[in-house]
Amino acid sequence: MAESLILDRRDQLAGKGAMHAILIGVSDYMFLPPSDDPPGEGLAALKKLSSSSITVAAIARKLQELDAEQRLARPLGTIRLLHSPAPEELAAQPDLATIGGAPAIRAEIATALRAWRKDVGTAKDTQAFFYFCGHGIRRTLEESILLAADFLEDEPKLFNAFRLSNIRNGMVPGQQFPDIGREQFYFIDACREKPDALDALDTTETPKVFDAELGSYDDRKAPIFFATTTGGVAAGPALKPTYFGNALLWAMDNGSFDKRPVDGIAGNVWPMTPPSLKVGIEIANALFDSRVELTGLVADPVLCFRRDPPRLPVRITLSPDPLIEPVEAMIINELNTGSTQQITPCANCGPFAVEITAGMYQLAINPASAKFARNRSDIVYLSIQSKMPWTFDLGSVP
């Protein structure tokens, strides 16, 4: 067995709540055809991928970066990396060969998951982080079958695969791990289609990683993020992080609603919680509008945070067009620092895109003629949940 641990600070953090991450990225499916080959029969219609390993490596770097900046809700205790990069990924990012970790075959994944659970099981205030990037098959709403790199090696066909629900149920507080970490984040960056070939199988069961156990009092905060809704396809550009992975990286920096106190963190901060991360992902990439599915025991656990206001894109529209020409300038005034941005509008060229930081804002319209007076808007709070474009009806300006 190879060593999946690429970061291990368990000794340093003994007795402290830590984050334990397991990142699984499968591009080089050993028994699937290359992406440019004609599709195979049945389940072999799936093909090799070319961005999963790059994605999980980027997530690993982001976790370490946030940890170095002391912006994770828990210090980073371990990272287990299981990845099977495509040759072209290795060519594009040679450090994938040296980053460490174990191949993402089923046996290695199962071993690593059991070790990960043991680490998370050491204390209630540990935090679990699970990220899978690769092929997935829809089972039902909260369930996916996740395919390891040696999928289709032999029969039964779904032997080298595992069920998400088996992982989640295995992480429940119970007899075996009564003190398991109560905050658990699951990210499934995989398709949720159901290939027709699945109907031809006599069973869609997969071997278990964990024995089924009934929980005691399940007081977990355990959100699951699916990169796509049931039946949808998760995708990514070749040799770059997947769309979902890339959007999550942005959301881990900017996906926060507001500044507030958070237990265990000194001073008020901008926390990234499951609901705000979801909105952040959807803001980061228009492809995700209403497509990211956030389910499970969602609650409000904090994954990471920042101390300064996050960035967000704002789009502003003036209407109606005939009234835009008399507008000389539109001034966006941030009320805390007094900083301003000025936009010169023109008819038929909106919406006007600007990047701001979250906060309280007021807009002023400077007229170019006496058609209307200088005016200002009400004070508004702009954050990632503000719907865009922000439309100004010049017709109602006095």
Binding site: A284, A299, P351, E355, S377, Q385, W390
Partner: protein, 391 residues
């Protein structure tokens, strides 16, 4: 002399049709100092603050100026929209490359502006046990009586519920790759003081493809439903917290509205807040015994509390009966059936399933495994797209 002041904020004049809306009080630096809902005083230390009201569409509107509150004083503010209009639903360009997010090359997929012909649809109401339509591994198409009823935007259809039957609203969807029937599970509400089980169905074409939203006669419940549809749990919890406060003050929450209480309970479970849930369920059960979401919420709550033997008993009672209205309820039901079938052979399982029970659990599980993939995951009330050429 008190060391706090109070700020009460009201909704913008153009938004008074809502029930209570979330209010946030922030310092000049943007720190959230207090939060609550419109019309209710929020305690804050003396200071200068910005108060904003969060609307269901995500706009957070403030008063024209900061609010200064002194110790022991009460300040009132009214958020206003002045000349800021609502976000447009029509197509807009994606952010430019200079904007923050990394995927600047992605194209915003905006629905085309709805044309006049899409402003109305013909819908058909069907009464019965809709989950029983899915049996023997397939869906048995319900017989829809013709002609249907006209449902137009801005002209809601009032639906009463009689007897113990649940109802489906069927809306044909044409123009896609293959014809579909969109089936909406129709809820009902029993408002404060009891009365007729009633709901209002509204055609919603804002997203391009026609949907039906359900609204009650209670503004507070409708506001909660609107926030649930916006799907940001943080905001849903802000409203549900007010319901929790009322319950803590001794109010029978179900007497406010059964649908509001059921919706609030789903929000609590989504946040895994279990305290007080059993009492809420008892209260709704008393007003509307047999309502199916109460049963599945109870099963889920008991399961999470580790009371699996009780959960299994309630689950047995659900099989073959009415099915939950909410998507989350159907999902809870499937996951519980799966888990309990899975562990029933464990020697330490705290319950025993007879051969008949096991058979019934497996049949129910298999039926739900066919049903759930057809469900629209963006809708909180169960909605299915069913190919309409099914025999």
């Amino acid at each position: 002399m008190s060391d706090i002041g109070l700020i009460t904020c009201d909704a913008p004049p153009s938004e008074t049709g809502h029930g209570p809306l979330p209010v946030y009080i922030r310092s000049g630096e943007g720190d959230v100092i207090g939060s609550g809902v419109t019309g209710t005083p929020i305690a804050v230390p003396p200071g200068r603050y910005y108060a904003t009201v969060l609307l269901p569409d995500g706009r957070e509107i403030g008063a024209p100026d900061a609010v200064i509150v002194a110790s022991g004083q009460q300040e009132q503010c009214v958020a206003g929209v002045c000349w800021i209009a609502s976000p447009q639903a029509v197509g807009v360009a994606a952010p430019t490359a200079g904007a923050a997010p990394p995927m600047a090359s992605a194209t915003a997929v905006s629905p085309p502006p709805p044309d006049g012909s899409a402003n109305e649809a013909t819908v058909t109401l069907w009464r019965g046990n809709w989950l029983a339509l899915w049996r023997d591994g397939e869906m048995h198409r319900p017989e829809l009586s013709a002609p249907g009823q006209r449902l137009a935007t801005g002209s809601p259809l009032n639906i009463d519920s009689v007897g113990g039957d649940d109802q489906l609203l069927a809306l044909p969807i044409e123009g896609g790759a293959s014809p579909l029937m969109r089936l909406f599970i129709v809820p009902y509400d029993i408002p404060a003081g009891g009365g007729v089980r009633h709901i209002s169905a509204q055609l919603n074409i804002a997203g391009g493809s026609p949907q039906v939203d359900f609204r009650t006669s209670d503004a507070a419940v409708n506001t909660m439903l609107a926030f649930v549809e916006a799907n940001i749990l943080t905001n849903m919890m802000r409203l549900t917290t007010e319901l929790v406060k009322q319950a803590e003050a001794g109010t029978n929450v179900a007497a406010i509205s059964t649908l509001g209480t059921i919706t609030g309970t789903y929000i609590l479970l989504r946040s895994n807040v279990l305290e007080g849930v059993e009492k809420w369920l008892d209260q709704v059960d008393e007003i509307d015994p047999g309502q199916p979401d109460i049963s599945i919420l109870r099963v889920e709550m008991l399961g999470r509390l580790g009371r699996h033997d009780d959960a299994v008993e309630f689950l047995k009672g659900m099989i073959g009966g009415r099915a939950p209205w909410f998507r989350a309820g159907l999902s809870y039901m499937l996951e519980r059936l799966r888990l309990y079938v899975d562990v029933s052979n464990n020697p330490d399982a705290p319950f025993a399933l007879s051969a008949n029970d096991m058979d019934a659990f497996k049949r129910a599980r298999n039926a739900l495994e066919i049903v759930l993939p057809m469900m629209d995951n963006n809708r909180h009330m169960a909605t299915f797209d069913v190919p309409w050429d099914i025999a």
